[in-house]
Symmetry: C2
């Protein structure tokens, strides 16, 4: 009945898109307390969808933070595999708003793309998996049991999901998890992600004088906290782009010859990254290729800086404090816990005595790596081959997905990572977009995937 499901999907593509636009209109920004009601609204929308496509036991479950949406369908029987399908209904903040060509929460089609916050990351991917399941349910022969886990805190580190999973081990038992929160290499280059970097996200505040001072009256006799922060940040990398936090590389798993060969085979020339980012030149550890730097090497990034006067014009102020948001991407076998210690040690050893500092750990997750013999990876690989007519690439991605680590830790459940965002989809940036032809192929690929698990 594969054909019946594919035809249903094809005939209903316009409605699927309309429903996607509907959920993209909800500004479910998890980090912003002002959008709490929108978070609830998005959760309810997801729950209604699950009921509509025939799932049972649909619930909006409290977590201590934003709720989890759960639903299942267990009628394939005990001998059939149980697939957990993970998604998140929350999105990143949309600022800077002035850089959006069309409003972030009014999904707009321009050319082959749908522009909206969350279109690629990841409401588009959630809807693709829902619509694939709907199509197979319509065909009437869903061959696997399904469990949906749709959370609302992915963009803020899945903080409460860890406990939620720990407290619902029986409910969430599954053979593996399909997680569509990754992307593929290009519209004609399907790929499956087997590795993810972890994360440790910090806020570092440096305090100098008890209040903002006149820079003329005190400048030269007081260590400017913005300068002190700049000095601390500058010292976190050496001249070769290596991170200087004490012990930072101790646990980093070395790449095998085979792994380096796999990386070398990826169709990712440096030119591509230059085009995608628009930088004058690439940067990073000289002994590693760019895909290695992004997939298999840890990083330390400044995500934000704030101090003193930042408006138009000038103000001759010596600021009382300076703040940086700093995050490390982690690789196997680093852990956020150790990274916190390393960051603290660096600050203790390097912060001068004429300022004080405060480090807040905001959130994090370990790195993940899945074997290519996983039944989900096999089924999805075959599905992609059917839809694209070519084998997918296997790659490691630079982003961090907390749930992948949590499912492994608490349930022993591996995640099969795919999804149909493209490298230029501008997730987390203005004008985030979803490539619609790829999205439609993605729905088909998920339909094949379900049948491949029979």
């Amino acid at each position: 009945m594969l054909q019946k499901a594919l035809e249903f999907a094809s005939q209903n593509n316009e409605r699927f898109l309309a429903e996607l636009k509907e959920v993209l209109a909800i500004p479910s920004i998890s980090t912003d307390p002002e959008h709490k009601a929108d978070m609830q609204k998005a959760a309810e929308w997801m729950a209604a969808q699950l009921r509509t496509i025939g799932m049972n036991n649909v619930q909006i479950m409290p977590t201590g933070g934003h709720p989890v949406v759960y639903g299942d369908w267990m009628d394939a029987g005990k001998s059939a595999p149980t697939v957990m399908i993970y998604g998140h209904y929350d999105v990143q903040p949309a600022d800077p708003l002035e850089l959006w060509q069309t409003p972030p929460f009014e999904a707009t089609v321009r050319g082959e793309n749908l522009f909206a916050r969350g279109s690629a990351d990841m409401k588009g991917q959630v809807i693709a998996s829902l619509k694939a399941a709907e199509s197979v349910m319509y065909a009437g022969d869903m061959p696997v049991n399904l469990k949906w886990l749709i959370e609302g805190e992915e963009e803020i580190g899945s903080e409460h999901l860890d406990n939620f999973i720990k407290n619902h081990k029986e409910l969430l038992k599954a053979d593996f998890c399909l997680n569509a929160d990754a992307g593929i290499l290009a519209p004609d280059k399907p790929s499956i992600t087997t590795g993810l970097r972890g994360l440790a996200y910090f806020e570092l505040k440096v305090y100098g004088p008890k209040k903002d001072l006149h820079s003329g009256l005190y400048g030269g006799a007081v260590h400017n906290p913005a300068q002190a922060l700049a000095e601390l940040i500058a010292g976190m990398h050496d001249k070769n782009g290596k991170i200087t936090l004490p012990g930072f590389y101790d646990k980093v798993r070395k790449l095998s010859k085979k792994e380096r060969e796999d990386f070398a085979r990826l169709p990712l020339p440096n030119k591509l990254y230059i085009e995608q980012t628009g930088v004058p030149a690439l940067w990073g550890e000289p002994n590693f290729t760019v895909p290695e730097r992004l997939g298999a090497r840890p990083t330390l990034e400044v995500n934000g800086l704030l101090s003193g006067f930042t408006g138009p014009g000038s103000k001759t102020v010596l600021p009382a404090w300076a703040m940086a948001k700093i995050s490390c991407r982690l690789v196997p076998d680093q852990t956020p816990e150790e990274t916190i210690k390393q960051m603290k040690k660096y600050l203790k050893e390097n912060a001068p005595k004429d300022i004080t500092w405060e480090l807040t750990y905001l959130h994090g997750a370990g790195a993940a790596l899945v074997g290519s013999d996983n039944i989900g990876i096999v089924a999805l690989s075959k599905a992609m081959q059917s839809v694209w007519g070519r084998k997918p690439y296997f790659l490691r991605e630079g982003g961090s997905i907390g749930v992948v680590v949590q499912l492994q830790k608490h349930l022993g459940v591996d995640s099969v990572l795919s999804g149909f965002g493209l490298p230029d989809c501008d997730a987390h940036s203005p004008n985030e977009k979803l490539h619609l032809p790829t999205w439609t192929k993605g729905i088909d690929a998920f339909i094949h995937f379900f049948y491949n698990l029979k």
Copy 2:
């Protein structure tokens, strides 16, 4: 008739304070285009005051920016000296607003202080000079000719004043200028400022990727512009706090033995600066005392930093750009023009090729130093001795006052710098305040000063 003037001032002190509160209620923030109407309102208030106290030829004169208020009284005759009295009616922005105990534009007396933006810098000082003149005018024997020059752009670098002075050389001719935009050391330690540092104020922007990127997807392969900016800023000082801009110290005038002795005599122990600023320890060039660092040594300060995500919570963004406001305090014989070249040279030599940068020079002024035999300094010194019962200290201040340089350059007019702000007055900071007993003494000192010039 000195006594008559002093009595008038004493009897009218309460009214003087009420008038000061009135002008402090006008949020004349010169850097903020939204306050343009308030700037006009403040100028009109000043013009009305000049008329009320008996000045002639009162005009609000266009400058291309915020207007200058002018008024004069030339009836002392050709043989009497002509004193220019300089002031500014503009103030710094009041942010961060949440740190003010009472609203910045509702002047409030608490204890011996009057709290308001502009109370110390410098509406309080302008009113003190106006009220001293009013008292002497009332006594009926003003011994000097007066010319008032009250500008509206001091807090943004007196940009248009330079041309204004150049274009009104005849109108502004004077023997010297009394400029009350400085302060005294303590309520019981009167002082006159003989030197001022200059200023060169920059905005530096570092650009990396063409848009904000997902830090997981690109982190490690792209030079983070916030990190690159931090590296550039960190490199602007060496480990001893010396500025590394090429040639920065070449023109810095060396301190003579006599000058270093004068500095050493100032009642300014390090403890005082620690108390005033609240820093854990002082900082700066090890071979210079703190008063030397502040008065006779150039500096480079970060006045503001902005990049990426700075709200509450976290956003895993690799920012497209990072910005710093940076200003140098200059000493004789440095010039802003040379500092711009040095800053550009530093950036050209040190900015990496994987980012681009843009340097905007916002404004500046040269440094100034006045001889202690100037007739205005002699008259004010004597006046302070009469009111405080002790000789004033002579010092150099760290701030920059563009008009001092401009008057010297175009008219050959030296400035006598005093005023009755205290080191803890929080000019440019939240809860700016004016110490009222010192202010009242200041009015008396200015009354004496006029008579001392007879």
